[in-house]
């Protein structure tokens, strides 16, 4: 806002400058002329001057002289020079000789006298400027005394031009001057009419105006076509100052309604530039005429308070609700456009008027806000990384790491060869994510304590960078399982206690596990063999191969290596493999999939023999049909790249809903979306999701269609309908047909830097001149101790002192604040103290 003010102030000044520069005049101050002869001979045609004659300094004229001197500069802007003519003693001409002429000032254009002013009318700068301009602008500013005069002028103007009607309680006032100055600029565009008659003001106004203050009305006579019609009037609501009048006239000059056919974000009008809001009336081809009338109506109501634009929705792609009919754009930069659904025009007007009220309050509070802004900038050095902050808040807690062997460059290889299987966490002790994982790792150690054959260890890469690079660890953290005589396996899963434990336990069994007998194979499918395996992995996978199909088997084994630790995989290729697979009505090569402890076994024929395909297929087959989405498992389903049909439930879902959803999930077209549910009790962050969609938590259970990957729309299944397969299907059809309105849309926002950085380049420029792209003229190099800049200038004398640093007195002097910052012990105080002691 202040910036905009500046902008139009400067444009006004420019205008005035243009106006004044046409009649070129001399110095800005009072001109002295030695004699009347000299003065009159120097008068040029068309040049205006205000002259007063003085024989000697008469004591009474003294204050008048001061005023006239100070008005010289103001009048110069309007091409009027102010001249003081000295009357020689013997002079008895018209201007010098008469006593009363000396009490007057004379306005000349060329050598023609236009007006003479008694000095008591020129009581201050305002009155001098107002009266001089009033005299000069005799044609541009009509003075009226009666209503009839005013109406006459109005009638003449109708259909031709607009009228500015001003009431001032008296001439020679600041308001009078403002009106005259405005008339100087706008006098050729609008007809200015002035009055000092209070009665006239009362006659033109509906309610009882305060006659002691000035008024200005803009009368829209130009658009009036019929003589009988009255001109519309818009009063200036602010006090009469030159700036306010200028602003008002500019607003009145702007088109009533702007037609807009581009992105409203990019639109800028006079109103926005002058700090006023802009109201968009959203229009469509069908309703254009009506909308146009509405817009004009609103525009008249809001004239001087806000701009009105008519935005055609047919021409501009708008990503807003179809129902929205009004948009409001405020002049504040960075404020998004508000789209609203309003019922009648009064609402629009109230909206704008409330806004301006709020604005006034805001302006009052601006100072406070500025303080807050400063605080905001200081947030730069407040940690906003949740992981880093959490770890540093936790750093004083001693971790129970006794169970975890510390490996070094010296003992790494010997330790690995001692144990059959070693789990190694590579981390960096200064890195937050590493330390967060180390905490989970210590929990894993506690969890697995006593499990035979597992040795947990860690390598701090900050201590042993050579070892880490030798082991090809480029990222922290990295978890690896080293097994004697085998390639190490790098963990690629979630960094959670449970996931890590499961990985470590599963890795104990070779993957795939070779099963020797039919009994073992059956036991494996039931989850009974081998005993002691973690129970939380429900699904077992068994590859069945006739020995002939070795290619598929090789690929399966290779896939097992990749999936090691993540999947329970077995393999059976004895002679009776055919018999085993036929039990599940497939023929080898085949996969047998035993979900939930072998209660149901699925047989899948293996047709792909490439390792990648097989890994992908296994991963896909392991996904549940109707999963409960949790924080750890979401990525697996996200990878499918499909929309989610997700049921939010406050706890476990009911049997009925579960059955219906399962039916839906099992239908063939399931491939196009993921049917899942979310248990808010187990995954409370789900509340956060709902709150983002609906701003409050809606009644549960709640079925949503979330287009996670394309478009990001969220649709809510009507709560009045019951969750049945059929209802859902028909609702989905509606969705697909585009007949439903999305309840919410996922934010499209980019992840921009949360806060700005220190702009060292800018800070360096003043003190390192050679850095700036246009090197400054001054070659003076600041020595570094002066580079601080922000310490007081008087400090320079004391800067000499450090060279005498050995004086005893010096030791006691606290940091002289060369940079105006509080010293930190480690960086500044400590070395300082130490050296002075030496």
């Amino acid at each position: 806002m202040p910036a905009q003010k500046d902008r139009w102030v400067s444009s006004l000044v420019f205008l005035l400058f243009c106006a004044s520069s046409i009649p070129k005049c001399g110095s800005a101050s009072l001109q002295q002329e030695p004699s009347p002869q000299h003065y009159f001979s120097g008068l040029e045609a068309g040049k205006t001057s205000l002259a007063f004659f003085s024989p000697s300094v008469s004591p009474g004229a003294q204050p008048f002289l001061e005023h006239i001197e100070s008005s010289a500069e103001a009048l110069q802007d309007y091409g009027v020079s102010v001249v003081k003519v000295n009357c020689p003693k013997e002079d008895v001409s018209r201007y010098c000789g008469k006593e009363n002429a000396l009490r007057k000032a004379f306005l000349f254009r060329g050598n023609r006298l236009i007006r003479e002013f008694p000095t008591d009318a020129l009581f201050d700068v305002n009155s001098i400027v107002a009266n001089v301009l009033f005299a000069l602008l005799f044609n541009e500013v009509k003075y009226v005394e009666t209503l009839a005069d005013l109406e006459n002028i109005e009638n003449v103007l109708k259909g031709k031009s607009n009228m500015v009607f001003a009431y001032v309680p008296a001439t020679g006032t600041a308001e009078h001057r403002a009106v005259m100055e405005a008339a100087f600029v706008y006098g050729t565009i609008h007809q200015f009419v002035l009055t000092t008659e209070a009665a006239l003001l009362k006659a033109t106004s509906h309610d009882d105006p305060d006659v002691s203050s000035a008024w200005l009305l803009f009368c829209h006579c130009q658009q009036v076509t019929e003589p009988a019609q009255a001109c519309r009037r818009t009063a200036l609501a602010q006090p009469l100052t030159l700036l306010n009048i200028h602003r008002h006239l500019k607003l009145m000059g702007a088109p009533l309604v702007t037609e807009v056919a581009e992105d409203p974000e990019k639109i800028s009008t006079v109103h926005l530039q002058l700090g006023l809001p802009l109201v968009f009336i959203l229009s469509q081809k069908e309703t254009y005429e009506a909308d146009r009338r509405t817009a004009e109506f609103v525009a008249w109501q809001l004239l001087g308070k806000a701009g009105v634009a008519l935005l055609s929705r047919d021409l501009v792609e708008l990503n807003v609700l179809q129902r929205s009919n009004v948009a409001l754009k405020t002049p504040d930069e960075g404020m998004p456009i508000q789209y609203l659904v309003l019922e009648d025009t009064d609402e629009v007007i109230t909206l704008v008027e409330d806004k301006s009220k709020v604005k006034q309050i805001q302006e009052e509070e601006q100072e406070e806000e500025e303080d807050e802004d400063e605080k905001e900038n200081n947030n730069q050095d407040i940690q906003d990384d949740q992981v880093v902050e959490a770890v540093s808040r936790d750093k004083k807690r001693e971790l129970p790491l006794e169970q975890i062997l510390v490996l070094t460059e010296e003992n790494f290889h010997s330790s690995l060869s001692e144990a059959a299987r070693t789990v190694v966490l590579f981390y960096a002790s200064w890195e937050a994510v590493s330390l967060a994982v180390l905490r989970s790792y210590s929990e894993v150690a506690a969890h697995l304590q006593g499990s035979p054959g597992v040795l947990l260890s860690r390598v701090n890469c900050w201590d042993w960078p050579g070892l880490c690079s030798q082991e090809n660890v480029t990222q922290f953290p990295t978890l690896r399982i080293y097994q004697e005589g085998q390639q190490s396996v790098t963990y690629g899963g979630m960094w959670g206690t449970e996931e890590l434990s499961s990985f470590i336990l599963l890795s104990q069994v070779s993957c795939p596990l070779k099963l020797a007998t039919m009994d073992e194979a059956e036991g494996y499918l039931r989850g009974e063999f081998p005993s002691g395996l973690p129970s939380h992995h429900h699904t077992s996978l068994l590859g069945v191969f006739s020995s002939a199909t070795s290619k598929a088997r090789e690929a399966f084994e290779e896939a097992g290596n990749i999936l090691s630790g993540h999947v329970r995989m077995g393999m059976y290729f004895e002679d009776d493999a055919l018999a085993l697979s036929q039990k599940y009505s497939v023929s080898p090569p085949a996969l047998l999939l035993a979900r939930s402890g072998g209660r149901s076994v699925e047989g899948i024929a293996l047709s792909q023999h490439s390792v990648q395909d097989m890994v992908q297929m296994i991963r896909y087959e392991l996904l549940d049909i109707f999963p409960e989405i949790t924080v750890p498992n979401l990525p697996q389903y996200l990878q499918l790249g499909k929309p989610f049909l997700i049921l939010f439930s406050a706890g476990d879902i009911s049997q009925v809903e579960s059955k219906e959803m399962l039916k839906l999930a099992k239908r063939r077209p399931q491939q196009t979306f993921v049917v899942c549910w979310l248990n808010l009790k187990k995954t409370p962050v789900g509340y956060g999701i709902l709150r983002t969609y609906f701003s409050t938590t809606p009644p549960l259970p709640l079925l949503l269609w979330v287009n996670l990957h394309a478009g990001g729309q969220v649709f809510k299944f009507p709560s009045e309908q019951s969750i049945t397969e059929m209802n859902i299907l028909s609702w989905l059809e509606q969705l697909q047909a585009g007949l439903e309105i999305p309840s919410s849309t996922l934010s499209e926002e980019d992840w921009k830097p949360p806060l700005p950085a220190y702009d060292f380049l800018q800070m360096m420029e003043p003190s390192v001149p050679e850095l700036s792209p246009h090197p400054a003229d001054s070659p003076a190099q600041h020595p570094p101790k002066n580079a601080g800049g922000d310490s007081a200038g008087g400090d320079s004398g004391s800067r000499e002192e450090p060279s005498q640093a050995s004086t005893a007195e010096e030791v006691g002097v606290p940091g002289r604040g060369l940079r105006g910052t509080a010293p930190r012990l480690a960086a500044r105080d400590k070395p300082g103290r130490r050296h002075s002691e030496l």
Binding site: D381, D385, L708, P784, A827
Partner: protein
């Protein structure tokens, strides 16, 4: 002409007898052996020529008083081998942990004999191919289109045996003593031969010419037995702790400064040695006079006929006669063995003792000739450590990498990381890297951004003088902007006349980091690789041209730049604003929420959580994050659908606000562009 004829006849005569190697290295000193090590590891065809029978022959004689002034720090409190190299100025680089200097000596300033032994071990343990007792006395070129550089280097040894190489690495050091000629200079003893037995100086008055470490080392040795010692040199004494240059006078040698300033008879004088003259009187005493008095006079006429300065100026400073005058003026490169066609020219001004080379260490006169080791110090003379083992072990590696790319198509080694590791990879390097630390403002780590800034490539210890040629020299592409990481001292902090102990010399606040005085990491961001012209027009004393953005990591008393708030956070903000992205880490739970509420995910979720590597975090950590207001706890949310308790609401707001603040992403960048 005679020489040229001789050389060409030599070529013609024994053309068939050339022994060929891809690489010839002249000199088996530290730099020659270091180069040999890298060539050997890369499996290249190379040979090292050494005129002596063992490596490091310079160290067999020098320093005369046998005390090395390179520190050999036994303990740093850290086991990080890379970090410890920052405080080990004697070891060469190798994979063999036996070849660490601290295993050879326990002295902080070791004996030079230990260095000789170390170099012998280095050559033999690593089985480097060194041909001893071979003094190369002539080097010339043979034009050949097939050759790597359009010519072969032809080398001749003292036995007229000839060698031919495609690339010549000159690691011959600077070993020719600097000599000044003035009337009476025949009375001057050289540092090379002067007695090192203090007893030989008992009761003598000594004048030493020169003001470097060798001069002070000589003085230190005899300080206790002489009457007094005076030192003359043109320039004022430069103390290494004031200049931050290890080649200037080290504190270990500066005992004479004490006795001078405490008026214990010893003293320093400034004067141009060229104006000096020495006259010997009948008693064998040496008198200092000026060349000016001697002109047109027959010296042999005897001392009595010569005007001495004190005859006119009876308080002339060096009016007392001296018993001995010792010259300790340092060494220069041996230019004599190179044929003129190689155009091995001395540098200008104070680097005239070194051959002219480019910032890539390649000779300015001959393509394919690289200068290594001390002789290559013109690149960073009086600035960094390129003339010393702890510096040139890294520049030698850099040259090797340049050669691997140029001749063998092996691009500069690099590692590709996901963008989430950007802050980490910088923090890791600035905290441990020794090459960056020793060769501050000369070698830089380079981060090349890949398209869309989802990945980056990390190149270590590239010579920044040839930054403009990066793509050609490394075989890597820099299309999408780059970061240059170097270490710098504060500008104008170091210098011979600077008070480096003034109060508040150290900065502690991250926001004032650009005023840091002590060595600290500085990161330059360029949207485009600077051009040669921009490099040439860079501001004076700047290692690099004006970047698009710059970041200083605030200096640290412990040189440990791992503080989360003072070091890492401002660095992350800088990187974020350069890349225009959010580099914060998020717990899996936050990523889960973002996945359901945002169409785009921050890089840490995108590259971690979505790839099933989310950070679930322990209960305690999540609790801390909740308390910090950076994570919202939904567990206690009631089911009525009311507004959440204020604290929760606030924290969510905080997170959202953090993200929603309207940003001017590096507005100054945009402005700079406009200008």
């Amino acid at each position: 002409l005679g020489l040229a004829l001789y050389a060409s006849s030599l070529c013609a005569m024994s053309g068939a007898a050339f022994l060929y190697h891809d690489y010839c290295v002249i000199g088996a000193g530290p730099a020659g052996l270091q180069a040999a090590y890298f060539l050997q590891r890369a499996g290249r065809d190379y040979i090292v020529f050494e005129r002596s029978h063992a490596p490091g022959s310079f160290f067999a004689l020098y320093p005369r008083h046998r005390k090395l002034i390179s520190i050999n720090k036994q303990y740093t409190g850290k086991s990080n081998s890379e970090f410890n190299l920052r405080h080990d100025w004697n070891s060469l680089l190798s994979h063999d942990r036996r070849l660490l200097f601290r295993r050879y000596s326990r002295d902080f300033f070791p004996n030079a004999d230990t260095m000789v032994r170390y170099l012998e071990d280095f050559a033999s343990l690593l089985k480097l191919r060194v041909q001893y007792n071979t003094a190369i006395i002539h080097v010339t070129l043979e034009k050949n289109e097939q050759a790597w550089n359009g010519h072969y280097f032809l080398l001749t040894d003292q036995d007229r045996k000839n060698y031919k190489c495609s690339s010549l690495l000159v690691a011959a050091g600077t070993w020719v003593p600097n000599v000044v000629n003035f009337p009476g200079s025949e009375y001057v003893e050289g540092y090379e031969t002067v007695s090192i037995n203090p007893e030989d100086f008992t009761g003598q008055t000594v004048l030493i010419l020169g003001r470097g470490n060798s001069a002070f080392e000589t003085a230190e040795n005899i300080l206790g037995v002489t009457n007094f010692i005076h030192m003359v040199s043109r320039s004022r004494v430069r103390l290494s702790w004031a200049t931050h240059y290890v080649g200037d006078l080290r504190a270990i040698n500066n005992g004479l400064l004490d006795t001078y300033q405490l008026k214990s008879l010893d003293g320093l004088l400034e004067g141009d040695l060229e104006d000096l003259a020495i006259v010997k009187d009948k008693k064998g005493k040496l008198h200092i006079t000026l060349r000016f008095y001697l002109e047109n006079r027959n010296i042999s006429a005897g001392i009595d006929s010569i005007t001495l300065p004190q005859d006119e100026l009876d308080n002339f400073a060096t009016r007392a006669p001296y018993d001995r005058v010792i010259r300790c003026l340092g060494w220069k490169f041996d230019f004599s063995i190179y044929n003129r066609s190689l155009r091995m020219m001395p540098g200008k001004g104070n680097i005239k003792k070194y051959p002219q080379i480019k910032p890539s260490y390649e000779s300015r006169g001959t393509r394919g000739l690289f200068v290594l080791g001390t002789a290559s110090h013109s690149v960073d003379f009086r600035k960094s450590a390129g003339g010393f083992i702890h510096g040139f072990r890294y520049t030698t590696r850099a040259v090797h990498r340049l050669l691997e790319n140029r001749h063998h198509g092996v691009p500069w080694p690099s590692t590709v990381y996901p963008i989430t590791q950007l802050t980490n990879s910088i923090i890791k390097r600035v905290n441990e890297a020794s090459g960056l630390y020793q060769m501050f403002s000369v070698l830089a780590d380079i981060i090349l951004l890949r398209e869309n800034a989802t990945e980056f490539e990390y190149l270590e210890e590239y010579p920044i003088g040839v930054l403009a040629e990066l793509e050609m020299q490394t075989g890597r592409k820099a299309r999408n902007g780059l970061f240059v990481i170097i270490m710098e001292y504060g500008r104008n902090f170091s210098g011979a006349d600077k008070d480096v102990f003034y109060y508040n010399r150290a900065v502690g606040e991250a926001q004032h980091a650009w005023q840091s005085n002590f060595l600290h990491p500085v990161i330059y961001y360029y949207k485009h690789l600077p051009t040669e012209r921009e490099m040439r027009l860079r501001p004076p004393d700047w290692p690099l041209p004006r970047p698009n953005a710059i970041h200083h990591v605030v200096e640290d008393f412990l040189t440990d730049w791992t503080a989360p708030n003072a070091h890492i956070l401002p660095l992350r903000r800088f990187l974020e604003n350069c890349l225009g992205t959010d580099l914060r880490n998020f717990f899996a739970e936050s990523c889960f929420l973002f996945a359901f509420t945002h169409q785009k995910l921050p890089p840490s979720c995108q590259q971690g959580y979505v790839r099933m590597q989310g950070l679930l975090g322990s209960q305690e950590l999540r609790q801390h994050a909740v308390q910090a207001g950076l994570l919202q706890d939904y567990t206690h949310t009631d089911f009525s659908g009311d507004r959440p308790p204020d604290s929760h609401h606030g924290s969510q707001e905080h997170l959202r606000r953090d993200h929603g603040i309207p940003l001017r992403p590096l507005q100054h960048l945009v402005n700079a562009k406009d200008e």
